[in-house]
Symmetry: C2
Amino acid sequence: MVIEHAELSIIPGQEAEFEAAFERGHKAIAQSPGYQWARLIRQIENPGTYLLLVGWESLEAHTVVFRGSDLFQQWRAAVGPYFASPPNVTHYNGELTPAEGA
Amino acid sequence: MVIEHAELSIIPGQEAEFEAAFERGHKAIAQSPGYQWARLIRQIENPGTYLLLVGWESLEAHTVVFRGSDLFQQWRAAVGPYFASPPNVTHYNGELTPAEGA
């Protein structure tokens, strides 16, 4: 599995709107071939920063298939207006299914 | 749940040694009160960067209890020699238990 790691910096004061928009945008991501799961978590030290983690079947499922699709345009149309700066995106190899006591 | 997010930059060429040391260091973390799970994943764009995610019962379980304990000293003694720079640590609020199709 490949994990997309996207740091999202949100325009101050628009966090609630972003979270609602994320629900819509996530529906687009989840339709893309190779999508496995997604989680959005919010930073404690800087609550304007969110971390989006997405599990993909392969690197290309994200960087080629999703980014080249209309679904990506739908995702960015939903959440892009709330970004204070371009997302900082990297990818990681590994499993990420936290289990009790693991 | 609070998720510790630690970016670890490893001295070039010492990644395999670090991974072995992590196995030892993790045993120390896992004994700390409030520990729930941990995952170590390796960046694709820069394979010298690892991301350590640790689920804690609360922020204080990490920042006060663990960091103030002998277990923290054991953790740093195991992995610290492989760090190219001090870890970049933040915390996130939220659940992080990826589920099929979620």
